[in-house]
Subunit: 342 residues, 2 copies
DNA sequence: TGTTAGCACTCGATAACTTCGAGTGCTAAT
DNA sequence: ATTAGCACTCGAAGTTATCGAGTGCTAACA
């Protein structure tokens, strides 16, 4: 068990290291805290904390930096989420409270704002659509050679795509296809729909609307896009600021990873209810061992859960990040509920 | 006037410098060319070329690198666009010749492919839509609270946006608005439309469909998006490879610039018919003084002109870039013509 | 007059060495 | 248990030495 003084020292050390980025020595702690003791005493305590694995040295005579275990302990026991300043609160509620017209805009602006406010990289995933049902499908002939396919779900997702219509298709084929889709897909969950699209529907198309087979491929892709719930990432460039000495190759792989939706979901999409922090090697990813990932979810009642995450250095200002994230989760829940209900 | 030998030396020097990135000395040139003379002779020639301003030293006893004037001369007089290898040609025609279904896909894939093949950064601008006419406008009620606006032009652009419908709106309001738009906007050029949207239309809306005023704002934004012709940029990360020692701040500004469509258009959108190369300081932009920009246009008969550009280091392989770009301009012309005519 | 071997000279890159100071651990006294 | 004092460590930053690719110039030569 740590003594009270050790707790104060550990807390101070982490704060100081977060704000300076430099290893922290006994004198620095002496000055920064109200501890009534000499630097030698603090040195003894530091040596103790090191023995317990909470802090470590960068070389034999350096100051101390927090270890993974130290951060873990700090986050689980010491850290207080920081209140978000009045003016920032106002910006958030102004931007996200405004009458934004589309789901995508809300996600996008959240990510932007979150990365702006934290100076880290922000990831926002829209409410998960797995269990949503297809409520509408239509094909709209725009002109002689273009068709628009539109699908809707009960979660408010609306997806559309324009594609060229092969010459062989006419208005009555469109109606046939629409009917097939309405009869067999509308009302089912998207998971079901995806399955049927590969099993049953091709057969039906071939039987009742054989010359629409080519068009069918295009329509299928609309569903694919919709099945991926939306994600937005913002502030990728901030990585350049918070990991100064990263080498080019690593940076390139990192950015490639962040652009790949698959990798991103793997990273962030194990939804737990509360805040989850993964520090350095806790994220099981080579490229991210100097990063931390703070994740939380927002919950739009029955409409599903979404994820908000912040990717920053292991030495991030966890207290601020937690504070901001908490505001965002509440605001998003509120904004989206309004979006769905209005 | 340069002697034949000087031309050979200049040409060799630029090629060697492009492939090694190191200043080139007299011996290197001796080995790399078929010149029947000693290194001393070549040194004399180099000294001559330097006096004429085609090459320069990085320090008093270094090898030579091409100067801006040297590159200029090389590009204008010496360089031969390089034939594109069979397999690359095949990839290009496979990807762009395939039945891609949407304009945007074509642009996007072109940019991707171009950056992959050159290892530089590729910018592709769609055919300019300035003089295109609005040929269709519709509003589609998707459900009780969502409307989709769709606009089409005679150049094949189709743009749509879904937005929430204020509760005050009903079906008949939609019809009213659609009628207003059809009467006053359809058939006009997009430039005209943009003007009318700000002058005449608000009045008409207020007069005949006053409770649709709020909705009008959303519709206006669809037009705004369509007025910006499409652009795609790909291979931004390649910058990390070809300008190794760029500092973080510069990189950040650079990426910010490349993400801003305004800046990008300013850079690339002074359409000339043929190839245009801007070397280093010739690009009037602080951030780009170590870069070169090779631009060309593709021409889809009456449907408009588009721009393809490659951004790379001043020491780029101009011959390859020219070769690849030439293939792309032809392929794009062909692909798009097919797109419009089919 | 153009070419070339020979040589002294230049200067960046790299490595080796020096200095400095923040920080530590240990000891002995309080 | 605390602390003043001190020897010790080691990275950062600065200085110096070494190396070699490359130059320009001179003088000899075809």
């Amino acid at each position: 068990m740590l003594t009270k003084r050790q707790l104060i020292i550990l807390d101070a050390l982490i704060r100081l290291y977060t704000s300076t980025g430099q290893p922290i020595g006994s004198k620095t702690i002496l000055i920064a805290t109200a501890i009534d003791a000499s630097s030698a005493t603090i040195r003894n305590e530091l040596s103790q904390l090191e023995k317990l694995g909470f802090i470590q040295k960068t070389h034999s005579s350096s100051g101390r930096i927090p270890s993974l275990k130290g951060y873990r302990f700090y986050i689980d026991n010491l850290m207080q989420p920081q209140e978000v300043a009045e003016d920032k609160l106002k910006v958030i509620s102004d931007v996200l409270g405004a009458h934004v017209k589309q789901m995508d805009d809300i996600m996008y602006q959240s990510a932007q704002l979150l990365s702006d406010l934290t100076h880290y990289t922000a990831i926002v995933l829209g409410p998960k659509a797995e269990t949503s049902r297809l409520t509408g499908f239509r094909l709209l002939a725009l002109n002689d050679n273009h068709v628009m396919a539109i699908i809707q779900t009960d979660k408010g997702t609306i997806e559309n795509k324009v594609f060229r219509m092969p010459k062989t298709i006419n208005e009555s084929d469109l109606v046939k296809v629409t009917n097939i889709f309405n009869q067999h897909l509308v009302g089912h969950t998207l998971t079901d729909v995806t399955q049927k699209l590969q099993r049953d529907i091709p057969l039906l198309i071939r039987k009742y609307a054989s010359n629409a087979a080519e068009m069918f491929l295009s329509i299928e892709s609309v569903f694919k896009e919709s099945a991926e719930s939306r994600h937005h990432i913002s502030g990728k460039l901030n990585i350049l600021d918070f990991s100064e000495n990263i080498d080019t190759q690593k940076l390139k792989s990192l950015y490639t990873m962040l652009d790949s939706s698959g990798d991103l979901y793997a990273l962030v999409d194990q939804v737990n209810d509360d805040f989850v922090v993964k520090i350095g090697e806790e994220i099981d990813h080579d490229l991210l061992k100097d990063f931390s990932l703070v994740t939380t979810t927002y919950n739009v009642s029955s409409y599903g859960k979404g994820v908000i995450a912040v990717l920053g250095p292991t030495s991030m200002a966890y207290d601020e990040t937690f504070g901001v994230l908490d505001v965002f989760r509440k605001q998003l829940t509120h904004t989206l509920l309004e979006y769905y209900l209005e």
